[in-house]
């Protein structure tokens, strides 16, 4: 009797395992390099897209509050880790289109990162303020790092990035600090804390070589820079006083630094409270120019080859997107791809850019050389766009 039960279990299990494979794409015949996801923020759904055919492949619902969602990918590009505003962290398999694991890991979350070796996923949280680290396979909690910057006081965490090795860097909005967490022994994170980096860091980026971590400051004109290759990393101020003492313009939406714009020797950064993109030399970290643009920049993103930098804006200027030509450092085109443009994502080699227009329920695909529209896709209230090529890039 016992033996028969065991036998029937053994035959039932492989059949059950085969079923999902029949219903969706077969991993044997489909790669992941063409795939991407678009956040449908109002409905808690991921739209799955193919970036070569420029088509919608399907939807994955049930991901909670995605009103400020972000995504990182496993190294094979098959799994998307989705960080929701409500603290939900979901692992979605893009081939089977199934949610493989999901945890409610915080009350209020803002994004995350994946370690270079693909084994650890880290979430940055506002409530409770801190970073939580999970096993990338199972989403089991591996480490909890409360951002306690003063006794009993937890800071909201921003600007979380992966660093080479099993390390992450992040900034403490309330704590005016940058912390580096080494998780080479995942259960026992080692923290390096850099205090007094400047007032109210709001987001940060790591340069493509993993050497420099830059946090934008909301509370003052300037940014904090850390050279991570130094034996004793320390934060120093760059571009201090870029506002020249003028009264700042209202910032109706915080810029994002995550989609960094390092183009050749130069980094292009959004000014805060000024309708300008700041240009910095990445060898001297001195300002070498500033480019007037159509509003408060939100995303300033370089085409992968660095020849162009694309900029979108905060409300009420968010129907526009501007294209900066980097050799001449001028805006060469202003596009109006729809109402409430929230995000832009380049195809892996930058031949096209996908732009989400929330209020037009549309994603527009634009040829980056000819600047004409290649396709439009109907997507419900689209916000973030994430292509699997991010899996291979440090800081994404």
């Amino acid at each position: 009797m016992k033996r028969r039960n065991l036998l029937s279990l053994m035959t039932a299990a492989p059949m059950a395992a085969l079923l999902p494979g029949c219903a969706a794409l077969s991993p044997a015949t489909t790669g992941t390099g063409d795939l991407g996801v678009v956040i449908e923020r109002a409905t808690g759904t991921l739209a799955l897209v193919n970036t070569s055919t420029r088509t919608l492949l399907g939807e994955i619902p049930g991901l909670g509050d995605l009103s400020h969602a972000s995504v990182v990918f496993s190294r094979d590009g098959a799994s998307a880790y989705v960080f929701g505003r409500d603290g939900g962290l979901s692992k979605v398999n893009l081939l089977s289109r199934r949610i493989e694991a999901r945890v409610m890991q915080a009350g209020n979350s803002i994004g995350g990162a994946i370690s270079a070796d693909g084994t650890l996923v880290a979430a940055q949280n506002y409530t409770p303020g801190g970073v939580k680290v999970f096993d990338a396979k199972t989403l089991a909690l591996v480490a909890d790092i409360p951002a306690e910057y003063a006794p009993g006081k937890l800071s909201r965490v921003v600007g979380l990035v992966d660093l080479p090795g099993r390390r992450f860097a992040f900034s403490l909005f309330d704590g005016n600090a940058i912390w580096i967490a080494d998780l080479s022994q995942p259960g026992a994170p080692r923290l390096t804390k850099l205090p007094d980096i400047g007032r109210q860091p709001y987001d940060a980026l790591v340069t493509p070589d993993g050497r420099h971590y830059i946090a934008g400051l909301f509370g003052e004109d300037g940014l904090a820079l850390v050279d991570l290759w130094e034996a004793q990393p320390r934060a120093r101020r760059i571009l201090a006083g870029y506002g020249r003492g003028e009264a700042p313009l209202p910032v109706y939406k915080m810029p994002h630094l995550r989609g960094w714009a390092v183009a050749g020797r130069q980094a292009y950064l959004p000014a805060i409270g000024r309708h300008e993109v700041l240009v910095v030399d990445t060898t001297t970290w001195q300002e070498v120019g500033r480019i007037p643009v159509a509003g408060q920049p939100v995303f300033v993103i370089a085409r992968p080859d660095g020849r162009q930098v694309w900029v979108n804006f905060a409300v009420p200027d968010y129907h526009r997107v501007q294209v900066i030509d980097t050799p001449s450092q001028r805006v060469v085109r202003t596009l109006e791809p729809g109402k409430a443009v929230l995000h832009m994502e380049f195809t892996p080699r930058g031949d096209a850019v996908w732009i989400s227009a929330r209020d037009d329920n549309r994603v527009t695909v634009i040829d980056t050389e000819r600047l004409d529209t290649l396709a439009t896709l109907a997507v419900d209230a689209p916000s973030g766009i994430f292509f699997t090529a991010r899996a291979a890039r440090l800081g994404f």
């Binding site: 109002a42 009103s67 505003r85 209020n108 409530t127 109210q200 109706y252 409300v315 209020d359 419900d380």
Partner: protein, 112 residues
């Protein structure tokens, strides 16, 4: 039936109070703006983010006038900007009143 009538009276009362000069069309725009644009810091469900939660419970002890002033003029030293370039004082007052009562949901059209 009686329940529905009471509810209707409550809704009408709520929208009439202090809403001088805020038309139904404008109210619709303001609901969308708060949910979507204020939502980028306060959360689409207004449960908070970089900005604090704006749920009825979270605002229970905040005077209406202070809420309206914060919306219109901003809060120096914090990321909260003044929205006077996009809102009238009546708009700000209307938003403050709605927040204090629990902000209305956006009525969404199906996109496709």
């Amino acid at each position: 039936m009686k329940h529905a009538a009471v509810l209707l009276a409550l809704v009408l009362g709520a929208t009439a109070a202090g809403a001088q000069g805020v038309s139904a069309t404008r109210q619709h725009e303001l609901v969308r703006m708060v949910r979507q644009d204020c939502g980028s810091c306060h959360g689409m469900r207004l449960t908070g983010g970089l900005g604090p939660a704006l749920t009825r419970e979270a605002l229970a002890d905040k005077p209406l006038g202070a809420l309206a002033a914060t919306i219109f003029h901003g809060r120096p030293g914090t990321p909260m900007p003044g929205w006077r370039a996009m809102l009238s004082e009546a708009d700000a007052q209307w938003i403050a009143e709605q927040l204090a009562q629990g902000f209305p949901e956006e009525i969404r059209k199906a996109s496709r």
